[in-house]
Amino acid sequence: MTQDMRLDGGLVDRSRTISFSWNGKTMQGYQGDTLAAALLANGVKLVGRSFKYHRPRGIFSAGSEEPNALVQLRKGAYQEPNTRATVAELFEGLEATSQNHKGTLEFDFLAMNDLASPFLSAGFYYKTFMWPRAFWEKVYEPFIRSAAGLGALSGETDPDVYDKGYLHCDVLVIGSGPAGLSAALAAGRSGAEVLLCDEDNVFGGRLNAETFKVGGTSGVEWARNAVAELEVMDNVRIMSRTTVYGAFDHGIYGALERKTDHLRSANGKPRNIAWKIYSGRAILCAGATERSIAFGNNDRPGVMLAGSVRAYANRWGVATGKSIAVFTNNDDGWRTASDLVEVGANVAAVIDSREIEPFMNIPGVSVTVGAGVCDTTGRKALKSVTLTTGQTLDVDCLAVAGGWSPNVHLTCHQRGRPSWREDIAAFVPGGDLPPGMSVAGAANGVYGTRACLVEGRAAANAAVKELGFTASRKGADKAEDEPANITAYWHVKESTKRAWVDLQNDVTTKDVKQAEQEGFRSVEHLKRYTTMGMATDQGKTANVLGLAIMAEARGKSIPETGTTIFRPPYSPVPFGALAGRSKGKDFQPYRITPSDKWARENGASFVETGPWLRAEWYVKGDEKGWRDSVDREVIETRKSVGICDVTTLGKIDIQGRDAAKLLNMAYANGFAKLPVGKTRYGIMLREDGICMDDGTTARLGENHFVMTTTTVNAVAIYRHLDFIRQCLYPDWDVHIMSVTDSWAQYAVAGPNSRNLLYKIVDEEFDLSNEAFPFMACADITICGGIPARLFRISFSGELAYEIAVPSRYGDSLIRILHKAGKEFNVVPYGLEALSVMRIEKGHAVASELTGQTTAQNLGMGRMISKKKDCIGNILSEREYMNSDEIWNLVGLQPVDKAMKLDGGSHFINKGDAPRMDTDLGWMTSVAYSPTLGHHIGLGFVKAGSSRMGDVIRAWDGVRKKDVEVEIVSAHFFDPDGERLRG
């Protein structure tokens, strides 16, 4: 197929022919074409099927407002549905296909929906699919899902990469038409940092689609010169293919830059970048979008917007039809006819709805005024149009000029409401703009080129002055103001056939009127009832039309009827771009400990705890399941010695003359009297008396402590301590600093732990039970002078230590500990064995500190000091928190020792039905205890402390289990703590 519809002229590069395929057929276009321009050049009229009725549709517009020409680009995993052909740039080898049809585009089986249209009118979902109820899931929804919707995803993982970024500027200029370029030039000349963004691949906006003169040269040339001037300014950054899609708080804008969509391959670079723009001021120069007029069968391929028909001729050198008629209600429509004649296209007629003298005299073009188009023919391409006069014209393209709507979208993103201007029959930005934003040019309802240049410059000068810059005195370049008179004319009442308002959602004038009759009269109801203004185009060409028809139906003015406002995004933003790099393993950062490499070399399997990766167990030899490894780790540790990486615990350095006061305030139990060289276990409450965290704090000096927090609460506790010291006691002398990452810390536990440590600790340090008893701590040196911190604390219930070294030695220390421990058969143990041993000892962790439980629940109520104030002190005294009926943390063991226990089971008395009112509590932690040879559990039982020895049921409705358990002490193993003190 040759490019039969190509005219002379245009801005495409005819020296660079591009081959592409459309539904498998190879075609040619030129560099600079959009897919839509190239299809039109090749005479392709039918490009898709409508959403609901599967009506044949053609290209309607020449920009991002396109409702019809949604196509699929590329193949396989790169396949991208619902792309507007009007903004897809052509590249060599582009494969494009149509979508939303069963069978071929030309013969769509679902076109029968069109015959059923009486049943598919506004609100049909709500009416038709109501009954029978059971049909919704099995029949209706699958039917709707297969019939509706547009393109299809490939089902494969998106192979492209996406990125995000941050941009900063004094002045953001959105749009690069005459107003935008004029604004950017003025702002740039003042020395302010300027960012100019345009969604198009070339700058200039409408100037590229028109034949206007600016500054004594063509508008196109003027735009090129302006861009050249901006490019050499160090303080100006210009970004094409970048849509500013949202206006957010405090001068922040969202923008999507399409980096590689116009290239055959992204070559591993990000396809899109979602930018967050911080601006001092923003000038919206987003231009205007043309709208249609509703008349019978106005959706046929070949019925197009007049400004777009002109753009195809002027910018892309493409005639959109062999014989073109223009239907207008304003002066601008006439320019389409005159420009088309100028480039040699065949214009049959101009039909103006206004009773006016012909606006122009265009040779060879018949003119009808005071009339409209009321019907069209042609199934897959327009064949003729019928006028209200009864005359029929054989044309294959009808250019409709219904007037221009300013692109006010971004002015509405913070609830700004546009106001109606009857003289231009359009909504313009209201007074309540997002702070820092001003609007210039067509977006502000100013349509003349000269006025756009002047207003753009003025807006920029005002903005830079507010920011403290001196505005440049250089005036705006010269241009004409084109006539743009309009008489509102929304739909052709003489039409008897369906007249479309919203092409994308198949909303007709009848649907709007029906919504009115059924009481859905507010614009928000109109939208939701009819679906007008939804989907990819968000009603850019439809909303005002629909609103006007609603106003007419209600017998009210447009402002009385309402306004539609807009939310971000202005045009679709791919999810990939919003996700950026945050997918797969890059979803969040990982924290790893210094022993990570060693652990991987030694069969560790890892689990995420918060952002940390922790070894959960180490597979040794031919161990078949995790239980084999965990049981072995527990047994060997209790028998001799084991080592566990506890680096992940939060560590906070606390110093100052009032350091002890801070601890006393944060912990429920007292710390002021903790001697130097000692460690103490503490619990922290929230102000409401609920347990927040627990851990040990060591006193390294009179005014120097180091606190440990649980792994996941480290950040929250740091923040909490800062709250106490800044918001409650701002004059205390106390300073905190996170040292979590400074130290690699290992628990060395088991009867041989001291013997192992003796092999690495420098000789001058006495580790004997007398010199370094349970809960002692000290700064020591190991391996010949390397500083370390040693704490005699135990989570396992064994004689145990935690040893910390500067993290750079962490890898080396874990290797040395295992080398030195060989003679004791030392084992590494992971998080799971750690958990088994702590359950055997009845120690609480996050499973017990759930944010619902108190110190009293945990059996630590007596730790709350009554002698001092602390966070949570007063409210923990509330009566119900201290009654005999509260949950108590207890141990549980199965009556039949062979039975397994399950976390989350609920407790009920034998003979009770499992109901809310019989619920006694729940199982928080379970483990198989290799030490005891059966399963054990911890749990909260109502008044459990007074029910030792009672047998109750652990009922699990989810896993369908019901096990008899005996209430026992939570201290299953070595209840007197002889081992850890030994």
């Binding site: 990125d163 900063h168 790099r581 950062p589 100052g656 400074s742 600790v761 500083p787 080396s812 080398k819």
Partner: protein, 189 residues
């Protein structure tokens, strides 16, 4: 005598890579000590600091290079950090010698990974991950701020027109390096 010797290991094994003429490398021989100013102790501390490094504590967000190529950077009220070339694991003894007991010291040498990003693409790479405006007129040489990069707490300090010292927690060093490397891969031609 203990028979074992501990070997230090750089967080990122001394990472060093060049994309055309932009370089990202780990600085492995840098010590860092956090200093908190005791209540009512600013005068005494400033006196010592001035004698040792030539200047008072800078305002939050600023840093200076003092004697002995020492960088004193302040990110907060009553708290600053002293960084200097030092191959060992601890900087406190050196700082303590100069400032005596006028401040509260916390060893930070092992808490951070220190990266230097330098070259013509440095700003472009940062632009993809960091919300700070790195325009040289706004984020001037010696400016030092805490911020975030890909959700990770970051210290960003401009040490030259095209050179940045970038610090993050040593436990996230791998993810942090990945973020900066990815940025460099994306922005380099």
């Amino acid at each position: 005598m203990v028979d074992f010797t501990l070997e230090p290991k750089a967080v990122l094994d001394g990472f060093d890579k060049i994309w055309n003429s932009t370089r990202l490398r780990e600085l492995t021989e840098l010590a860092a000590v956090a200093v908190s100013v005791p209540k009512d102790g600013a005068v005494a501390l400033n006196q010592k600091l001035k004698a040792a490094y030539g200047r008072n504590v800078p305002a939050a967000g600023e840093s200076f290079i003092g004697k002995g190529n020492t960088r004193v950077m302040s990110f907060a009220k009553d708290q600053f950090m002293i960084l200097f070339d030092h191959a060992a694991h601890s900087g406190i003894p050196i700082v303590e010698k100069k400032l005596g007991n006028t401040g509260y010291y916390v060893e930070q040498t092992n808490n951070w990974v220190f990266l230097e990003l330098s070259g013509p693409q440095a700003r472009a790479a940062l632009e993809r991950v960091c919300p700070v405006n790195t325009h040289v007129d706004k984020f001037t040489v010696n400016r030092a701020e805490r911020t975030n990069i890909e959700h990770m707490g970051t210290v960003l300090c401009r040490t030259g027109d095209d050179t940045f010292l970038i610090m993050s927690a040593s436990s996230t060093a791998g993810s942090f390096l990945h973020a900066l490397e990815t940025s460099m891969d994306y922005v380099s031609q």
